[in-house]
Structures are given as C-alpha cells and as structure tokens.
Symmetry: C2
Subunit: 413 residues, 2 copies
C-alpha cells in the first residue's frame, strides 16, 4: 500500500486511540505480546529469509547479528510490550490548570500527537518496541523499517495487528510501510497526515530526514560525546568513568568518543589512562601534545575529532584549561552528552552552564543518559535537538498538549 | 551584513546571555526602553520615510496604519520592555529532578534556545517586542522584518542595541537582518547557527518557512476558528459568545470564522443570530440549508469554509449533529481554537476530546486564547503545531531544557 493510502486509515485509528481509556490500550499491549509469542515460528521463518539474503549479499556479521531473531529475542519483544502495559499513561494528565480572572477555567492536558512515523534501520525488534510505545501514548504509527528486514517486519506487524484486533482496537493503529526510498520521501512530504517523524539509525539517515522533511521531525541519536578531565579531578574516579563510558557498550550514542585532558595533569594522567584503555582493548588517537606524552597514542588529525567512532577507539586531546575544553566541545559536539570530571566547584558550575547539550554530567558516566536508566520505563530514542523534547524520550515525550477552556458565557472586553 | 556574518556574533552574544543573571537582563530591558524613548524623534523620522514610500506605492490604508508609529506607540513599545523586566525568569527553573537508584542526581533545567530567528511582516512594534521577549528568555535574535518597515526597524534596533551596551550586555544580542528574500533563505538554511525560527505574519509567509526551512520552526498563527452551537445550547449565551468572538477584533487569529449550527435548533436560532450579526456589521455566508432558513445569508461555496476571513464576514453551516460538526472542523480547522456552546455534558466531553486543536473552548470566547489573557505577561505568538509548544507562547515556551547529572564516580553495570 502507498503511504497516501495508509495515512487516512492510520488517522482514523489514531482518533479511536486518542479516545481509548488506559485499560483498553493496556489490554491491547498484552494481546499484542501474546500474538507475537503465538506467531514465533512464523516470525522466525520470515527472519531466516532476511538473514539468508543478507548473507548472500555479503553483509558483515555484526549487522547480521543485529538482524537475527531467536525465540529468546521474540520473547524479549513480547516482554517489552507487557512492561509498557504496566507504565502510567501520560494521556489525560493535566500539566497545569488555573482560573482566568473572569472565572474561565483553563486546563492544559496531555494528548497524543496522532500519527507518528518512525524511519529506522536493520533491527526488527524496533518494530515491536516503537509500535508499543506509540500505542501506549495513544498514537498510531507508520513503521518504515529497512528493506533488509522486510520479511521479519512483515511477520511482526502481522502478529501485532492480530493482537490489536483481538483486543478490540483497530489494526490500522500499527502499519508497516513497504517499498523503496520513495516511501521515505512520501512520509517526509505527508504534512498534516503524519504529525511527527522520528528517524532512528545512522547519521546519514537522520541528516536526510532532518533536512528534507516537511513533517516536523524529532532528531535523535548521534552522539559525539566528550569527557574533560579537569586539573582538580580525582584521577582514579576519572579512569573508572572513562573506561565505563568508552567500553561498557561502545556502539551506542551515549558512549564516550573524545577525551580532553587539562594540560596541568596530562603528562602524568595520560600514560595511566592509556594503560587502562589499552588493557580494555581501546586504541587511543591523539594530537601532537598527547603523542609527545605517550608514544602509544596514535597520531590523530583534526577530522578524528568529528568522528563518532562507535568502536573501541577514543580520540584524545590535551587542552590548556576549561575554556579550551568548552571551546573544543562547542566545535565538535553533537549536543548529546558531555562530561566533566572535577573536584572544583567553579569548574563544575561553569561547565554545566556553558556546555550546550541534552545532558551534561559531573563525575559520572554518560552511559546513564538513557530512558531506562532515567526510570522512564520505555525509550523511543534520545533527542539531540532543542524543540519539544531534549534527551531521553519516554511516553510523556510522545504526547503534545491541548488547552481546554471552560466558561459560562464569558466574553472578552 | 550577511546572515552568515551575523550568526557567529549572535551565537557569541547568546552564550553571554545564557550565563547572565536575571537582574542583568532586567536592567538591560529597562535600558533598552530608555534608549527607545530617548530616540523617539529618530525613530519617528525613519518611520515617516517608510510610510511615505508605502503611500507612494499605493499601499492600502489599513496596512499604512499598521506600519505607522507615533510617540504614543513608541512609548507603548518601551512600556512593553519594562513590563518584561517585571516577569519571572524561566531560565534556571528546575522542571523536575530526582535521584537515580545509584545516587546520581538528575536535574532537568530550563535553558535558552540560543539564537532565535523571527521572520515577520509590516508592524515595527514587533521588533521591540520580539527582541525583548527573546532577551528576557536568554536568547539572541535575528530579526528579519518587512522591507516596507526597514527604516523604522533600523532606527528601533539601533536604539535597542545602544540600550544593551549601556547595560553591559553585547549589542549583538539583537540583530536586524536586512536585504531581500535571499536573507530569508539564508536564515532557513542556517541549521546549527540559528536554533529555532518563528515566522509571524500571513499564511503564505508561514507556509514558506514551514516547508523550506532546515532550521527547526515553530509554526504560529493561522486560525480558521469554528464555533458549534449544540442543540442543548443556551441561545442568549451562544449569541453573546459568537458576537464577541467574531467582532471584538476581527483581524486576529483567534477570531471566529465559521459558525456551525445543530439542525435541530437552526431554523429558530439562525435568524436571531443573523439579526445580531448584521447589526454588528457582519456579513453571513452560508450553505443552502442556512440560506433556506434566512434569506439574508449570502450563498457560500465550499471554499468559503477554507478562508480565514480576518474581517467582518462569517461562514455558516447547518450540521446534522455533533459528529458532523467535528467532521467539518477536522476537515477545515487550522488547529488553533475551536468552540462548542452546549449544556450537555456528553457533548462537552466528546467535543473537547475529539477536536484536535491548540485550544478547545466550552461556552466561552476564543478571543481568550492569548498569552496576555492567559496571564503569561508576554506572547511571542500562538503555536498551531504539536511539537514543543502548542497554543500561546510566553517566556517559558522560548526555552528548552538540559539534563544535569551529578555523581561521585558512579558507572553503569
């Protein structure tokens, strides 16, 4: 089906969802989980076709692993849907309310966006995840997954739609968009039909959507994250945090990419850091000053500060002071998560105030910038933009608000 | 100066503003007001040039009135700036804060956007207004006014910049963008340099910015507002609200444009409404059913339901029931303010739930959907979009948030 055929059906479903009480949505999530489990064999069979095609076209093993489903992973997807049912419903919450001087009562209420478009890459578990988060927040979805996961996504969406119908909600609340790049274009042009687009994936995908979409976009995810070791830092603490931020899961957006070290402590701190990092399998790339302090550091060009490695590589630079650290971050940051390790109150205040990012951390790991760690219970992505939501986005961030004014005939003088 | 030359200076100023305490910003607002008053003659002289040129090019009187400044209007602009100094500062407010289970403390704080671009039409008082609201919320501005108000805007901005410098804040916090349509294009392309664009003006301007901008946009203003008179309505109350919403100030976005009347009461209600509306100078345009009930109603085509009249004209339609009213609104609404007049609880519940707009009103006038009436003290516009802010936007809506995480070396397991 064309995007233009799907959107009116999704909008009709969204209207029903917007008026559905929490218990109905929760029952649907449980029913979707059951349907997914009941169709495990069908989903695994479909997934085998995707994996086979990927192997034949020479896809790297890491990508194949992300694409591959197992009975366990499907059970995990089902559990994710059940967990959503247990979370509070943001819809209907009154954000604030007050009386105008003339007695008109004003309520600002949370309401769903309506229709949410998600454009994402290989992992088929995102399909169930995103559909579930949108459903719980009262939104219908258009899911535009990667063509490499098409068979898997078809099987997952078929199961989810069965679950919705069993629970008495319209199956058009969850829609898979099939087809080539022209379907992404159609989604980006569907202003007024799709209320918001969320791209999830690599930097290239996100840039395309952000630049070309006429539908409002929530930009997620690219994280060129920095950590600045101030002269006053507790060095053992700094090493612990650096190792965690870089190696606990290097492939994600809140992992550390560049280490900035205050010149005053660099000569002694850097070799200790390189010891620990190398032991953890990390290659350190640095500027001339850092290479001069430790020859195990690989010389790095300017451009390495722009890279989001997402691997066991770390860029490193010696900086003169906090100002130089902030200036470096200002130049290369993608506005995700930026860290200072310090024991100095003035440095802490200045860094948290002057660094412009979704999250600024003091003496702790950027790996905590995550919806799960924040206690949101669910996360659709991490926004690196300034409008609407900034940082981890949970159910609340998948809603907008509506003012409701109630009077007894008051008019404006 | 080119936009590309202005933005780095504005960004540098924005960094200073973001770290400026409220008292400094308030002193600057007062100083800007003083400078504006002290330069009344210069501003009036510049304005005369604009008005003369407008007259020569045959501009309609209504537009000339909007363009014209007087000593009184300048005093009003100065008072607006002083009033802003008295309002609470949203920057630094903690929206929420909590401890993670491991003791890391999380604060979500309000921070300025950074650099805000305003693209607006004729009225030069917007120049002082927008600059003041942005300054109070810690943002630097690029003001791209109409070329027809260029001399006036230059004189106003020169005064405001003097006021800023006198108060010890950088004059680059407020910048006038001069030049033709290419400057609007440059602003829309300045992704990463301008944090948000707000178009203020006619539907054409807003559409262009929304469709072409790579910088995130907050869409404001077009209001094709409806009022539905339910069968259960108090008729005297309905008439009072209709007259107020249509005639109290017909040229603004929260004025009434289309009246929908429940068929059950239309034959008796419509003639009474037309009596009152005609007496107030309003021409009523209606569908066949309404013309059949009152021949003073001018026959209207479908397209009249799409028009935002902004004049003493009102479209009218007889609808079968609440469902038909909601369906009409769904089709023609611009998502601004939609009203029901009813005494029936079920109708009230359904209308407020099913109508998708920034504001939904029950038994009161849509003219109250306004930052001033809401008690915000200042308004940069009324957002009709769903992302970030929806409805009247005051100082709070001119900020984003930042998460600050503070720990003592906690790492993720």
């Amino acid at each position: 089906m064309q995007v233009t055929e799907i959107t009116p059906r999704a909008r009709a479903a969204a209207r029903i969802l917007a008026g559905s009480a929490r218990q109905l949505k929760d029952a649907a999530l449980v029913s979707m989980a059951q349907a997914l489990l009941a169709n495990t064999d069908a989903v695994l069979g479909a997934n085998r076709l995707d994996v086979e095609r990927a192997r034949q076209s020479g896809t790297p093993e890491a990508m194949i692993d992300r694409l591959s489903l197992s009975a366990e992973r499907i059970a995990g997807m089902a559990k994710g849907l059940r967990d959503l049912a247990a979370l509070a419903d943001p819809v209907g919450q009154v954000v604030r309310g007050w009386d105008l001087p003339n007695g008109v009562h004003v309520d600002q209420r949370r309401v769903p966006f309506g229709v949410v478009g998600i454009i994402y890459e290989a992992r088929p578990n995102v399909t169930a995840d995103a559909a579930g988060i949108c459903l719980k927040s009262g939104n219908a979805t258009l899911l535009r997954g990667s063509s490499s996961a098409l068979e898997s996504n078809r099987a997952v969406v078929t199961a989810l739609r069965c679950g919705l119908e069993d629970a008495g909600l319209p199956s058009d609340a969850v829609n898979l968009v099939e087809g080539g790049h022209e379907t992404t274009q159609q989604m980006m042009a569907a202003r007024g039909q799709i209320d918001v687009l969320i791209p999830r994936g690599g930097a290239g995908l996100i840039r395309t959507v952000v630049e070309d979409s006429q539908v409002p976009v929530i930009e997620t995810g690219t994280g060129n994250c920095h950590l600045f070791v101030d002269a006053s830092a507790d060095r053992a603490l700094a090493l612990r945090v650096i190792l965690n931020a870089k190696t606990q899961r290097p492939s994600v957006c809140n992992a550390l990419e560049t280490l900035l070290v205050h010149r005053q402590i660099a000569a002694s701190f850097l070799p200790a850091a390189v010891d620990a990092l190398r032991e953890a399998g990390v290659t350190v790339h640095g500027d001339e000053a850092s290479v001069a302090m430790d020859e195990r550091i690989v010389p790095a060009g300017e451009h390495e500060y722009e890279a989001e490695y997402l691997s066991l590589d770390l860029a490193c630079r010696v900086v003169d002071d906090l100002d130089a650290a902030v200036a470096h971050i200002r130049r290369y940051s993608t506005g995700h998560s930026e860290t200072i390790i310090t024991n100095d109150l003035a440095s802490q205040r200045r860094f948290t105030s002057e660094v412009d990012a979704a999250a600024v951390l003091v003496n702790t790991s950027s790996r905590f910038v995550d919806g799960g760690e924040f206690g949101f219970g669910a996360e659709i992505g991490i926004s690196t933009q300034k409008l609407h939501a900034r940082g981890p986005m949970g159910l609340t961030e998948m809603t907008t608000t509506k003012y409701v004014l109630t009077g007894e005939g008051q008019v404006r003088a």
